[in-house]
C-alpha cells in the first residue's frame, strides 16, 4: 500500500514526485512509456518564460512568475544546464509599439522583474543579427533557457534516490476507489494501491481522469513543429515577434547547448500522440522565422521534431482535487508555460498532500545530484578523472565531445538509460550534427553489454523501435 501514486513522469509528475519525496511518504510514479519524459516535456521550446504573456490576475500568470524564480536553485542542485539569457519581443511598426506597451503593463502587473521597452539601437546592439526594421522591443531579462529533458530526468532520478519508486511500461487503464483506497491497474494487469492519486498524464489527462469519473473539462491537442539548427552564435536572447492580427509568429532561441531552435506553430491534432512533422508546417515556420532573423540558414538544420500541447478551452491549467472523488488530484491540461510553472505547481500540490496526510519532512532528504560534464572540466580535473577511470579518456560522440565514461554513467545511474535516445537525453551522445551517424554503433554496443541484451533487443526510443533485425 502506497501513500501516493503519481501518474505520468513528464516535467509535472517528476516535479511533484521529487517535491513530495522530501516527506515521509511512500510514493510511486508510473509512466506508460519505457522511460521518463516521453511526452510534451521532451519536445517543446525549453524556455523558462519571464511571464509577459499570460493574462494578468490568472493562476497561470502567478505560477509562471513564481516558477521562473525557482529555476536557478533547482537546476544548480540537480546539475542541470540553465541560463537566464533574456528575451526580446520585437516590434516592426507603430501598431507593434502599442502592443509592446500593453505587454509591458501586463508584465508589471504579473510581477515580471526588470521588464522594459528598449529602442532599436539597443536591440541591434544586443542582437546584431536580427532582421532590419525593428523599431523597439520589450526586453524581459528574467526569461531563461533550460535543458528540459535533463531536468525532468534529474527530478525523477533525485526522487528515486529519496525513496520514490518508479515504474515504467505501466500504462494505467483502470482506477477504482474502495473506501479510502485507490487501486490503479495497468494494461498488463499490475495493480498498485494508494491513499492519494495524482493525475499528471498530460495530453491523456482527461482520459485518465475519466477512468474514475466523468469530467467537465475537455483537453485538446495542439501540435508545434520545430527546426533544430547546428550550433551557431546567431542570437543570444530568445527572440519573439510581437503578436499582431497576423498571429503570434515563431520564436528563435539558442538552447543551453548552443544550438538554435526555431518554432513552433500551433495546429489542432486529433491524435495527441501525433508528433510527425509536415512539409507545410516546416515551410510556414521557416518563412515566419526569417521575418525576425533573416540570417537564419536552414541548411544548418540537424533535426526536426514536434510536440503536442495539452490545452483546455479556458487557457487555464486544471489543478486541484477532483470535486467528486476525494484525494484524486488532477494536474493536467498543462500547456505553455507549464514547464516554467512546474516547480510552483508542485509546491501547490505538496501543500494539499501534506495537509491531507499530515506527513512530516524527512531529515535525510538528499537535495543534490551530480553529473559529469567532461568538456566543462579543467585539464587537471579531466586528467584526474581519467586516472581514476580510463573510460573518460575515450570520446565516443565526436560532435558533442561525449566520452565513453559519460555514456556508461548515463546507463548506470539510478534512473539509467535503457534506449539509444535515453542515452542521448541524459548525456547528449548522438545529439549533435551527425545525429548518431558516427556513435550509434558504439552506444548500441555499450547498452547491449551493460544491460545484457542482444543487439537485436536494443531499441532506439519506444518499445518496438528496434534498430537491427
Amino acid at each position: 500500500m502506497r501513500d501516493v501514486i503519481v501518474i505520468g513522469s513528464g516535467i509535472i509528475g517528476s516535479n511533484i514526485a521529487r517535491e513530495l519525496s522530501k516527506y515521509d511518504l511512500k510514493i510511486t510514479i508510473v509512466d506508460k512509456e519505457n522511460d521518463v519524459c516521453k511526452g510534451a516535456s521532451k519536445a517543446n521550446s525549453a524556455i523558462v518564460h519571464g511571464g509577459h504573456d499570460p493574462e494578468s490576475n490568472t493562476l497561470v500568470a502567478k505560477l509562471n512568475v513564481e516558477g521562473n524564480e525557482m529555476f536557478e536553485e533547482l537546476c544548480k542542485d540537480l546539475s542541470v544546464p540553465f541560463k537566464r539569457n533574456g528575451a526580446l519581443v520585437v516590434g516592426f511598426n507603430d501598431d507593434d509599439k502599442k502592443t509592446l506597451n500593453e505587454l509591458l503593463n501586463r508584465s508589471i502587473k504579473n510581477g515580471v522583474k526588470g521588464a522594459r521597452i528598449i529602442n532599436s539601437e539597443e536591440v541591434y546592439k544586443k542582437e546584431p543579427n536580427l532582421t532590419a526594421g525593428i523599431v523597439s522591443a520589450l526586453f524581459v531579462p528574467s526569461s531563461g533557457i533550460v535543458g528540459v529533458y535533463e531536468l525532468t530526468i534529474a527530478l525523477c532520478e533525485n526522487a528515486i534516490v529519496n525513496g520514490v519508486q518508479f515504474k515504467n511500461n505501466f500504462c494505467v487503464k483502470e482506477i477504482n476507489k474502495d473506501g479510502d483506497v485507490f487501486t490503479v491497474e495497468s494494461e498488463n494487469g499490475d495493480k498498485i494501491k494508494s491513499k492519494i492519486v495524482i493525475n499528471a498524464s498530460g495530453i491523456e489527462g482527461q482520459k485518465t481522469s475519466e477512468l474514475i469519473c466523468e469530467e467537465e473539462f475537455d483537453i485538446k491537442g495542439y501540435k508545434g513543429e520545430y527546426y533544430l539548427l547546428d550550433k551557431e552564435n546567431l542570437v543570444t536572447s530568445t527572440i519573439f515577434k510581437c503578436p499582431s492580427k497576423h498571429g503570434k509568429g515563431v520564436l528563435i532561441t539558442p538552447t543551453v547547448h548552443g544550438n538554435i531552435i526555431v518554432g513552433p506553430n500551433n495546429n489542432f491534432v486529433e491524435n495527441g500522440e501525433d508528433r510527425t512533422v509536415s512539409k507545410d508546417g516546416l515551410e510556414d515556420i521557416s518563412k515566419k522565422a526569417l521575418e525576425t532573423v533573416d540570417k537564419l540558414d536552414f541548411r544548418n538544420n540537424i533535426r526536426n521534431f514536434a510536440g503536442v500541447r495539452a490545452k483546455v478551452g479556458t487557457n487555464e491549467f486544471i489543478i486541484g482535487e477532483n470535486k467528486k472523488i476525494e484525494s484524486f488530484y488532477n494536474v493536467v491540461g498543462i500547456a505553455s508555460p507549464g514547464l516554467t510553472a512546474s516547480p510552483a505547481i508542485s509546491n501547490m500540490v505538496r501543500e494539499w498532500v501534506v495537509e491531507k496526510m499530515g506527513c512530516k519532512i524527512k531529515k535525510d532528504f538528499i537535495n543534490k545530484r551530480e553529473q559529469t560534464y567532461f568538456h566543462e572540466l579543467s585539464i587537471e580535473e579531466k586528467n584526474e578523472l581519467i586516472e581514476k577511470d580510463k573510460s573518460y579518456g575515450q570520446i565516443v560522440c565526436r560532435c558533442e565531445g561525449i566520452t565513453e565514461g559519460e555514456i556508461l554513467e548515463s546507463i548506470r545511474r539510478p534512473l539509467g538509460a535503457v534506449t539509444i535516445e535515453g542515452v542521448k537525453r541524459r548525456c547528449r551522445a548522438g545529439a549533435g550534427r551527425c545525429q548518431g551517424g558516427f556513435c550509434q554503433t558504439r552506444v548500441l554496443e555499450l547498452l547491449k553489454n551493460e544491460k545484457g541484451l542482444s543487439s537485436k533487443e536494443v531499441v532506439l526510443d519506444n518499445n518496438g523501435s528496434n534498430i537491427l533485425v
Partner: protein
C-alpha cells in the same frame, strides 16, 4: 614533446601524406587516429574497385589501406590510436585526449588536417514524417553490416544514387535485405555506370530518377515510405506519390568535409567546398598547416585522395626544409567562372611551383562537348576539350609554370560551348 609533423586523421589521406613527408626527409612524424585502427572509411568499404590508378590493380578498401599501413611499418612514423584531437590552439599546439596520455598538449612544427568527411543526415534535407527506427545513413548501415556483422532490416529503400547508395543496394541484397528501389532527386544517377549495372541491374533493383522521399511513416520501427516525382525545380509533384512497405530507409544524400576542429581557428574557409582554402602546396592560410583528402573537399575515388595527400606531404617537407624568406609572394587567385562550383587549390603561389600544378574542380551540371577555358586578365591562356562532364565527377587540369607566369593576380576557369 615536439613533432616535425602532426597528421590529424589516419584515413587514406593521413596515411599517404604522413608517408610522403617522411620519404621526403621529415623526421618526427605523428599520425593521430581516433578509431581503434587506421584506414578510415576504407575499413568498412569491403567491395572492390580501389587502387586502379595508384596500384594498377583492383583492391578492396581494407586491402588498399593495408598497402599504406605496410609501407608505414617500414618507417619511424609514430601512430597514436584511440586518440581524439580536441583542439588546435593559436600556437599550433595540438590538444589530444586518450585513456593513456589523458588530456595532453603536443607541439607540431607543421600540421596536416586529414579528418575526412561525414554524411549528410535526414535533418539536412528535412524529410517530413515521424521519427522511427530504421532510418539511417548509408555509412552507418555499412558499418553495422560490414564491421559488426548485423542485419539492418528486411525490406529497404535507398535515397540517393551516388556510388555509396548503389554499393549499399547490392550489399543489403547480398545480406538478405530486399531492396525495393533506389530513389534519386536528379534526372540522372550520380554513380558510376559500372555500379549501376553491377549493383542495381544485376539485382533487378529499380532506380527512380527525379523522385524524392516525401513522407516517413511508422511509430516505432519504420513501416512505410512515400516517394513523389519532382518537377524541374526539384519540388515534389502532388498526385505522383508511390508507397513502399519497408522497415528500412537508407540515406545516401551527400558527404560534408569534417572540419569541426577548426571552427574556432582563424583560418580561411571555403563555403563552396566546406573545407579550408589552400594554395598549390595544400597549405592553408595559416603557415605550416596543410589539408588534404575528404576534409579538404569530397573526392570520388580514394586514388585521387592519395595523390593529393602525397602532394601535401611533399609540401610539408619543403616547408620545413627551405629558408622561407627566399620564396616570393606572387599569388594568383583561382576564380570560378561559368559552370564551376569550386576549385582546389583556391590560390597559387607561383614562386613555389616547380613545374606544374594540378587543379581539381567540379561543374554545376551535365555538359556535353564543351571547352574548359583558362583566362587571365581577359587573355586566353589555354583551353581543353571535354566531351562529357558531370557534377559527381571531379575534373582535373594541369597548369604549367610557363602558363602561370603569363597570368596576373587572377585566373578564371570556365566552361564554354565548343563553337565559341
Amino acid at each position: 614533446m615536439t613533432y616535425d609533423l602532426i597528421v590529424i586523421g589516419g584515413g587514406p589521406a593521413g596515411l599517404a601524406s604522413g608517408l610522403s613527408a617522411f620519404e621526403e626527409g621529415v623526421n618526427k612524424v605523428l599520425i593521430i587516429e581516433r578509431d581503434v585502427e587506421v584506414g578510415g572509411i576504407l575499413n568498412q568499404c569491403i567491395h572492390n574497385g580501389f587502387g586502379l590508378h595508384t596500384f594498377k590493380e583492383e583492391l578492396t578498401g581494407p586491402e588498399y589501406a593495408q598497402k599504406y599501413i605496410d609501407m608505414i611499418k617500414e618507417t619511424d612514423i609514430e601512430i597514436k590510436l584511440n586518440t581524439m584531437v580536441m583542439k588546435i590552439d593559436d600556437e599550433k599546439n595540438v590538444h589530444i585526449l586518450n585513456s593513456e596520455d589523458g588530456y595532453k598538449v603536443i607541439k607540431g612544427r607543421s600540421i596536416i588536417l586529414a579528418m575526412g568527411c561525414r554524411e549528410r543526415t535526414r535533418g539536412a534535407i528535412s524529410i517530413p514524417g515521424s521519427r522511427p527506427a530504421g532510418v539511417l545513413t548509408a555509412g552507418t548501415a555499412q558499418k553495422y553490416v560490414n564491421m559488426l556483422g548485423e542485419k539492418v532490416g528486411n525490406k529497404a529503400l535507398i535515397l540517393g544514387s551516388g556510388d555509396i547508395g548503389l554499393i549499399m543496394a547490392r550489399r543489403l541484397s547480398l545480406e538478405g535485405t530486399e531492396v525495393l528501389g533506389v530513389v534519386e532527386l536528379m534526372e540522372h544517377s550520380n554513380g558510376l555506370t559500372r555500379n549501376i549495372v553491377q549493383c542495381l541491374d544485376d539485382y533487378d533493383i529499380p532506380l527512380y530518377l527525379s523522385h524524392t522521399v516525401t513522407n516517413i511513416i511508422g511509430d516505432n520501427r519504420l513501416e512505410k515510405v512515400i516517394i513523389s516525382k519532382v518537377d524541374e525545380n526539384k519540388k515534389p509533384i502532388e498526385g505522383t506519390e508511390k508507397e513502399f512497405d519497408v522497415d528500412t530507409l537508407l540515406l545516401s544524400v551527400g558527404l560534408i568535409p569534417e572540419n569541426d576542429l577548426i571552427n574556432d581557428m582563424d583560418i580561411d574557409f571555403d563555403n563552396r567546398t566546406k573545407g579550408v582554402v589552400v594554395n598549390e602546396s595544400m597549405e592553408t592560410s595559416v603557415e605550416g598547416i596543410f589539408s588534404c583528402g575528404n576534409a579538404l573537399h569530397v573526392h570520388d575515388l580514394v586514388d585521387f585522395v592519395s595523390t593529393e595527400a602525397k602532394e601535401a606531404g611533399r609540401s610539408v617537407a619543403k616547408y620545413l626544409g627551405v629558408d622561407k624568406k627566399e620564396v616570393g609572394k606572387k599569388e594568383i587567385i583561382l576564380k570560378n567562372g561559368v559552370g564551376l562550383t569550386y576549385t582546389v587549390p583556391q590560390k597559387i603561389n607561383v614562386d613555389k611551383v616547380e613545374k606544374i600544378v594540378g587543379v581539381m574542380f567540379r561543374v554545376n551540371k551535365i555538359y556535353e562537348n564543351v571547352k574548359i577555358v583558362i583566362e587571365s586578365n581577359g587573355k586566353k591562356i589555354k583551353e581543353y576539350n571535354r566531351d562529357h562532364m558531370l557534377p559527381a565527377e571531379m575534373e582535373k587540369i594541369i597548369l604549367t609554370k610557363d602558363m602561370l607566369e603569363q597570368c596576373n593576380e587572377e585566373i578564371e576557369i570556365k566552361v564554354t560551348d565548343m563553337e565559341v
